[in-house]
């Protein structure tokens, strides 16, 4: 942490940046858009304090280096109505010169999938240039984890669980639905402001089941696991190219919910309930955060941004700098991003109806 290492790091950074820019300019050739002297506004429909802010702040300087002309990239926060406000605003914008982009999150996708009456936006109108995935891990206190019979959660079916829940229609519906499928009796305590508060509730012994997204699990729960006060139960898994749920590459040693479900009495990995869970899992995790250009963006602009994000991914140090901040997850561009968008923003009417009814019955939440 001395000054000498700083200077060296800056020098290496500059060389890397120069190389990235150079290769990109060669790649984009004559048909990209040039953004020199311009300011790119990146709208994040959340406050400065959330996970999306962290994600955008990570990418913004890298994107700035990688775009032709090295425009300034500023992250603009537009919180309100759980991201619906910012997304509705973006829907109204028309493509101008490629200086406006939007970052959506699972919390933007869920109201869209559930046809929340406040949603005035349509993902089909936008142009995806990056899709970032993540995963999630559920964990238990050691005494309850010890009751699990190998992969089977059957012995836990008689226990009373308490879970700090951020909101019935949020990402939390993926874990709560999963636990219900396992036959666990989980009572949701509402009014938690972020998953960090949920973890604190677990640490205080008030909640006895919890989940965190991968990066928060790594920084917040791994030390608890090492100290013996928490035991991982299962991950939500990851998707392979064929769309099957497989072990999460970040946590290869932790079984997936699918494995636990197969081993547990009364839990089925097929049928209406499973399909609904899987659909919302895909919307919430493997395709959680995406970057869009507005409706009407030119093919040149899309190609330019795609190339820029590819250049960011191709940085020699990308694995190192992103691993700690975003987790080891695919950062998808081009075709892969398009596929992620489609799987993340489409659920079958049956799956949607199932979840809408389930929310109504379990929480009394009406979405109409």
């Amino acid at each position: 942490m001395s000054l000498i290492t700083t200077t060296r790091r800056v020098a290496v950074g500059l060389v890397a940046a120069a190389a990235a820019t150079f290769s990109l300019q060669a790649h984009a050739g004559g048909h990209g858009i040039d953004l020199s002297g311009k300011t790119v506004e990146w709208i994040i429909p959340f406050s400065e304090t959330g996970g999306s802010a962290k994600w955008a702040n990570f990418y913004a300087p890298l994107l700035s280096e990688a775009l032709p002309g090295e425009p300034t990239v500023v992250v603009k926060f537009m919180p309100g109505a759980g991201s619906t406000k910012g997304a509705n605003f973006f829907q109204e914008q028309e493509y101008d010169d490629g200086t406006l982009i939007f970052g959506s999150s699972g919390s933007t996708q869920f109201p869209f999938l559930l046809s929340d009456p406040r949603v005035k936006y349509n993902y089909a109108d936008w142009n995806v240039v990056l899709a970032s995935g993540t995963g999630g891990v559920a964990y238990l206190p050691p005494d309850l984890a010890a009751k699990m019979d190998g992969l089977s959660a059957t012995p836990l079916q008689g226990e009373d669980f308490i879970y700090g829940n951020q909101g019935a229609t949020r990402l939390d519906l993926v874990p709560t639905l999963a636990w219900e499928m396992l036959g666990l009796n989980v009572e949701s305590v509402m009014g938690i402001k972020g998953r960090g508060d949920g973890r604190l509730m677990f640490e205080r012994g008030e909640a006895n089941i919890d989940y965190q997204t991968s990066s928060s699990y790594l920084s917040g729960v791994t030390p608890l696991v090492e100290a013996g006060t928490a035991v991982p139960m299962m991950t939500w898994g990851a998707l392979d190219d064929a769309g099957n749920i497989v072990r999460d590459p970040t946590f290869p040693d932790i079984p997936t919910f699918k494995e636990v479900c197969e081993a547990t009495d009364g839990c089925e990995t097929s049928g209406e309930k499973w399909d609904a869970w899987k659909a919302f899992f895909i919307a919430g995790f493997p395709a959680q955060k995406m970057v869009f250009l507005p409706a009407g963006a030119t093919a040149d602009a899309i190609a330019t941004y795609t190339a820029a994000f590819e250049a960011v991914k191709a940085r020699a140090d990308f694995a190192e700098i992103s691993g700690k901040r975003l987790g080891k997850y695919p950062q998808m561009t081009g075709e892969a991003a398009q596929t992620a968008l489609e799987s993340g923003t489409n659920v079958t009417p049956e799956a949607k109806d199932f979840v809408v009814n389930w929310l109504q019955e379990k929480y009394g939440v009406s979405l109409n």
């Binding site: 942490m1 000054l3 290492t5 700083t6 790091r9 800056v10 950074g13 406050s47 400065e48 304090t49 802010a53 962290k54 702040n57 990570f58 913004a60 300087p61 890298l62 500023v74 992250v75 926060f77 537009m78 919180p79 309100g80 109505a81 406000k85 009456p117 406040r118 009373d160 308490i162 909101g167 019935a168 229609t169 009572e187 305590v189 509402m190 009014g191 960090g196 508060d197 973890r199 604190l200 509730m201 640490e203 205080r204 012994g205 008030e206 928060s216 790594l218 920084s219 917040g220 791994t222 030390p223 608890l224 100290a227 190192e320 700098i321 700690k324 901040r325 929480y363 009394g364 939440v365």
Partner: protein, 675 residues
């Protein structure tokens, strides 16, 4: 012992990291930037840190930390300027400072109040850092003892401060606090998202009102309007008495109060979930309770400045515990701080449970950078206080438009919606009326601030307790009545009993004469009407939802209070204190300008903004206000307008913010800053 053996070398390493010239340089840079931003009311650490974020990526961790900590640390120091000089709470950390700091400024003792405040801030910061150096090693298990019932109990303790600040008619103060709580419940409920006093047709209210808007509205607007009507300077004395040395002496004479309030600040700051929103009120309450002669509180008692100011800087240190040890931000600026730390270097510092084990040196660096930033910031502030205090001798009509510009801009930043300005104006009007009829505004604000935690913790504690009781009766009892809860309960009861006994002597709003019956009675009826409607509105939420319980309970209690007040008003003669009305006698009655014409100026700014956007409206407003109201020459008015606009645009450009658009912007595509 082991712990200390590990801690000492880490502490040494930390000082080694800090005491490099380049680190100190970055720290001073951060401090200066923080002071510049903190001076403007409503723009706190969040705005400043967002400004720094783009530079954090890959920066050397210790340099980045020095810059950020320097900035965050001094916001509660520099916001004292607005609180003391203008009566505007610069941020939630200095709301209680307004109560006695501003009356001191009015008496021409601004420099004395400021330097007493800064000396307290500095001392609080140092006490906080020393306390933390030891406490941080054992903090984790202690913090984990604070479960939901304990958090609920602290919230209730905070609410009990209403007892001290209720004013001369206790029930009126309680109703004021209840009204604040009801305003705090507006929007989507946390439990099942049911709407209270709002609808999806008016999306603005569904997110609830922000503290910035309510704080500025309830305190700043009434003070600005009142001073403007009297058309004079803030200080009633043309000669400023009491230099900065006198303030430092005041602080030294009350050093034990300062120590106690600093400890209160660290301890409350340490508890995650409450943040610092109550700390200054608790410290103020403590200052009142431990002072023998209470008659000067609310009129310019220096102890009322020293208490809260000692606690609010110490609180920043305490707030590092949940932030660094649990990865849970105690405030909005701490949340950005966590995000920014991840960007530093190669991302090797990860806040959270492993912080102490892996990065104890960095942890200590942060604690002591914070203390050092306090020292640097305080020295700059004390040096500047004599000069800045002269602002209080300027004719207020020249300051007011500028202040209005700043608070409108700050209010707009909270939701980036024209409705932010409408809300500011509406709450400002409520504040004006509360001030006029002697309804306690501090009580209202405490109610507002603690409304959300009170509701959430009550609902959560109840739900978890029910589950425990299902397991066994003893389990449930153990959960609810832990030793900490019992101790807090006793403190709260004592504080309420003592507070109510003393409340009559403490006039947080100054002395107000009584007048006729009609106007105060109309005010009471309007308040009662709102509360009754809020009750009806909450009652119409389906009964299985938890979102209805809290507003119904609060509104129910308030309605009983209102009923008692109405009956009292009918029985008592019009000279009774319950009919207090500022328009009847004193400064307000003798004011040069009427209430409504003054208010109309600001309504005008609002209407113009909704039509032509903020910048165009501001141009018209600044120029015509200077020309017609302040009656300065055309050239003066033009220069004033130009300077004001340049300043506003410069600040927005620097912070990368937009201005409120109006109807015109719907139809025409204008270049920034007119957009």
């Amino acid at each position: 012992m082991d712990v200390i053996m590990e801690a000492l070398p880490a502490l040494g390493d930390a000082w080694g990291l800090i005491l490099q010239p380049v680190v100190i340089g970055y720290l001073v840079l951060g401090v200066v930037m923080g002071l510049c931003i903190g001076v403007f009311p409503g723009l706190g650490g969040i705005a400043g840190l967002s400004l720094l974020l783009p530079f954090m990526f890959g920066m050397d961790p210790i340099l980045g930390l020095a810059l950020m900590v320097g900035m965050v640390a001094v916001v509660p120091t520099s916001d004292t300027f607005a609180s003391v000089l203008m009566g505007i709470p610069g941020s939630s950390a200095s709301q209680a400072t307004v109560l006695d700091g501003f009356p001191m400024a009015k008496k021409g003792k601004a420099a004395r109040a400021l330097s007493a405040a800064f000396a307290s801030s500095l001392f609080g910061g140092l006490v906080g850092a020393s306390f933390l150096t030891v406490f941080i090693l054992i903090a984790r298990p202690i913090v984990l003892e604070f479960r939901t019932p304990e958090l609920l109990m602290i919230t209730i303790f905070g609410l009990s401060m209403v007892g001290i600040l209720a004013g001369r008619v206790a029930i009126k103060g309680i109703v004021a606090a209840g009204l604040g709580m009801l305003i705090g419940t507006i929007g989507e409920g946390a439990s099942s998202g049911d709407l209270r006093m709002s609808s999806y047709d008016l999306p603005y209210l569904t997110d609830g009102l922000k503290l910035v808007i309510v704080g500025l509205g309830i305190f700043a607007i009434p003070e600005i309007v009142s001073l403007l009507r009297q058309d004079r300077a803030i200080s009633s004395e043309p000669q400023l008495g009491g230099g900065w040395l006198e303030g430092v002496r005041d602080w030294f004479a009350n050093i034990w109060l300062s120590v106690r309030c600093s400890i209160i600040g660290v301890v409350v700051g340490v508890i995650p979930g409450l943040g610092g929103s109550v700390v200054d009120w608790i410290a103020y309450g403590h200052a009142v309770q431990t002072t023998k002669d209470k008659s000067n509180f609310g009129k310019g008692e220096v102890r009322g400045v020293i208490g809260p100011e000692s606690s609010n800087n110490a609180k920043e240190g305490g707030g590092l515990v949940p932030t660094l040890l649990f990865g849970i931000p105690g405030s909005g600026s701490m949340a950005i701080f966590i995000g920014a730390i991840a960007l530093l270097g190669s991302g090797q510092i990860e806040v959270g449970p492993a912080m102490l084990k892996n990065n104890l040196d960095i942890t200590y660096s942060i604690v002591w950078l914070l203390a050092l930033a306090n020292v640097v910031g305080t020295i700059i502030c004390i040096a500047a206080s004599g000069g800045i205090a002269k602002l209080t001798t300027i004719r207020f009509a020249l300051l007011a438009p500028f202040l209005f510009m700043i608070i409108s801009f700050a209010a707009f930043q909270s939701g980036q919606n024209l409705m932010d300005l409408v809300a500011l104006f509406a709450i400002g009007f409520l504040g004006l009326m509360m001030r006029r009829f002697d309804w306690s505004r501090p009580a209202f604000l405490i109610g507002f601030v603690l409304s959300t935690p009170a509701e959430n913790y009550a609902n959560q504690a109840l739900q978890i307790a029910q589950s425990r009781f299902r397991k066994s009766f003893e389990d449930g009892l153990d959960y609810i009545f832990s030793p900490i809860v019992i101790v807090l309960l006793i403190i709260t009861v004592i504080s309420v009993v003592m507070g109510l006994r003393q409340a009559k002597n403490i006039m947080a709003e100054g002395d107000v004469q009584s007048g006729s019956k009609r106007a105060p009675f109309v005010m009471l009826l309007v308040v009662t009407g709102y509360i009754a409607y809020a009750f009806y509105d909450a009652a119409s939420i389906p009964s299985f939802s938890r979102d209805r319980t809290f507003p119904m309970f609060v509104a129910g209690v308030c309605l009983v209070g209102c009923a008692i007040l109405i009956i009292t008003m009918m029985l008592k003669p019009e000279t009774d204190t319950i009919f207090a009305d500022r328009e009847k006698s004193g400064e307000e009655a003798d004011a040069t300008h009427g209430l409504w014409p003054t208010l109309a100026w600001f309504a005008g700014l609002l209407i113009l903004t909704s039509l032509f956007g903020f910048i165009l409206a501001l141009t018209v407003f600044l120029f015509s206000f200077m020309k017609l109201r302040a009656r300065v020459s055309t050239a003066y008015a033009a220069i004033y307008t130009a300077v004001g606009l340049t300043f506003m645009c410069g600040m927005a450009w620097l912070l990368n913010r937009d201005f409120p658009p109006g109807l015109l912007q719907e139809y025409a595509d204008l270049p920034w800053p007119l957009t």
